[in-house]
Homo-oligomer: 85 residues x 2
């Protein structure tokens, strides 16, 4: 299972688009706060593994490729525990 504190420590690459608590202010970028961790993991892996193209994949894939499965679990834990606004 993911470690939310480790996820927060790893979230620096996420915050420009998704905001520090996952409540993106940018219309083209999704809010991650309060999402189910299982979905966040699935989405990040689909970007990392080249299964998601189009949309924001040109931005997401290169960042996701730097992540291990454990990093992804940690990030998913962190953002799933933030409050959606």
């Amino acid at each position: 299972a993911g470690d939310a504190a480790a996820g927060e420590a790893k979230s620096g690459m996420c915050v420009a688009c998704h905001n520090t608590d996952g409540n993106s202010m940018v219309p083209m970028y999704p809010k991650l706060a309060g999402q189910h961790a299982a979905y966040l993991e699935s989405a990040l892996k689909a970007y990392r593994d080249g299964q998601r193209t189009g949309g924001n994949a040109a931005v997401m894939a290169p960042m996701a490729k730097t992540l291990t499965d454990q990093d992804i679990a940690n990030l998913a834990a962190y953002f799933s525990q933030q409050k959606a606004k």
Copy 2:
């Protein structure tokens, strides 16, 4: 721009997984409530147009293929206006 009332009328195919107000109870499925409409449109079009594979694409693509651009704008308007829980 999307018509939220028309989107609600069209949302029957969405609710088994995403719940009537977009607050999915199912860990593998994302919450749509309160997402930015522009992101929801982008994601639905990426499923419809075959750019998203993996993850939930096997479920999403066949449903998205039935939608026009206007349907997608309407659904995005509807779910973006629901409150995230």
